[in-house]
């Protein structure tokens, strides 16, 4: 079954200009998908439509096989979670602990389990020392960590991350990305991650490329990155690992292009001279 199936989707904020036109894609259950595209290409708009925050002008959205509409939206929201691009839009509670608890209450988690879950997820994002802080008075990266903790507590079937690690320090980002990978690989959650980080894109299974509200490319990371020039003209890029890999194949050192550092290193280790 598809976790998400979108067809013929159009949307306009002002009733005049379409910011999404005839968007179609499907994401199988358990798939780790990334959405990329230039600023203003419509990524966050898609995310807001998928959680039923706004209704499409045209087209349909199916979540876990059910059509998303005014009646189904409340039920489906139990299955779809989002971490917004601006974490300030996420916070409800007056302390970090309350904020995480609020989501748990909404999902009817028994009171006696809450404290454990809150401490567990706060620990996993490195925010255990801040449980009593006010979410809006944290540093940028701390806010993003708290927003992510909120979703880790609930672990919905489908999780949308809208540039959720854009303000994390590189190590924090790596550790949060690991948590996200785990949700995917160990818990089989469907992940839809909107990102400008091409290294993260290389780690995903499926990529959707948006341009001016249109889906222009879909495929595996390597299929997408094969369009290097087109990507550049769309304000995008390819990951550093692939740039090195291209250079290595050009120099005839390796004979297959790869897009992660691990793969580059593996290739080179097999070729390494023993003397």
């Amino acid at each position: 079954m598809d976790a998400i199936k979108v067809s013929g989707l159009s949307f306009s904020y002002d009733g005049k200009k379409d910011v999404l036109s005839d968007v179609a894609f499907s994401i199988p259950k358990g798939c780790y998908t990334t959405i990329i595209g230039h600023n203003g290409s419509g990524k966050s708009t898609i995310a807001k439509l998928l959680i039923g925050l706004m209704s499409p002008k045209q087209g349909s959205i199916e979540i876990l096989g059910q059509s998303l509409n005014e009646e189904s939206v409340y039920k489906l929201r139990d299955h779809v979670g989002i971490v917004f691009q601006n974490p300030d839009n996420q916070f409800i509670g007056s302390t970090v602990a309350d904020d995480i608890a609020f989501g748990l209450e909404n999902h009817c988690v028994p009171q006696e389990q809450m404290q454990d879950i809150i401490e567990d997820v706060a620990g996993r994002v490195g925010m255990l020392d801040f449980l009593n802080s006010e979410p809006t008075k944290l540093s940028g990266g701390q806010k993003q960590r708290v927003a992510i903790a909120g979703i880790l507590a609930i672990e919905p079937e489908i999780i949308i991350f809208d540039e959720s690690t854009s303000m994390l320090d590189p190590q924090g980002k790596a550790s949060i990305n690991e948590q996200i990978q785990k949700l995917h690989s160990e818990k089989d959650r469907t992940i839809l991650s909107i990102t400008h980080d091409m290294e993260e894109v290389a780690q995903s299974e499926y990529v959707i490329v948006l341009k001016d509200g249109h889906v222009v490319l879909t495929g595996t990371p390597m299929e997408i990155f094969a369009h290097e020039k087109e990507l550049a003209s769309m304000m995008l890029d390819i990951p550093f690992a692939l740039k090195v890999s291209k250079e290595l194949t050009k120099e005839k050192i390796t004979n297959q292009e790869v897009c992660t550092l691990e793969e580059v290193v593996n290739q080179l280790c097999q070729l390494k001279s023993t003397i």
Binding site: Q85, N86, S139, G172, M198, P239
Partner: protein, 286 residues
Amino acid sequence: MSIEINHLEHTYNAGTPFSHQALKGIDLSIPEGKVTAIIGQTGSGKSTLVQHLNGLLIPSAGTLDICGFHIQPLLKIKDIKQLRKEVGLVFQFPEYQLFEETIEKDIAFGPKNFGIEEEKANELVRKILPMVGLDESYLQRSPFELSGGQKRRVAIAGILVLDPQVLVLDEPTAGLDPQGAKEMMTLFMDLNKKQGKTILLVSHDMEHVMRYCDHVIVLDHGKVLQENDVRTFFEHPEWMIEVGINPPAIIRLKMMLQEKGFKIPDSILDMPSLVECIKGQVNGHE
């Protein structure tokens, strides 16, 4: 004139149960006309520190000398308007900076506030927009009805239009698309190289820090852990690991290869030299 920071401390909510000391005695001399990066983990105090530079935050203790202004606790800064004209601060969250009903008014607000006539201010707005990758179709739109990256561009324009001598940029490329980030960094570097502007860049993007900055300051739990020139800093990946900074991709690759027995000098920081160096160590290419 360099920026001199002496024993600077900052405590949020001082005297309440929520009191939190974010800066614990910062001593720094930031050179004029250079690009200085401020890096460090989440919550290390970067944004708190840079908000002192234009008087947005006042130190709890210590002093700060910038562009002829002397800032110290409890002292009202005389002519703070002039300070804000000389030191332009782009916030980490563009949302905190935007407030007018149209983008044109938002960007023109600063110049008008400094006494420039409306017509001239609007002219400046039209000049600045394309520099941040936006066109005139945005002028009459609301700054709140934009995508995240578009808001960031407007917020940057609102500061650049003031033509400040010191530019303080708090994660200015977060949320920009990859080419947009590159263009924005190029623009900042141009302002530094051609107009001699002093630039302070708070960034988590180590590729940018390595490629564009002259100088690095590492903050950790409200203290300065390290100050170095960029090259020396990136030639010592162990320092980065020690302070919990994930090095740039090229250095990570180098370290992964070194671990597998490849011999790669620490001084190699660019791709062509790295490829050349690897070439000599694989079968058939020795």
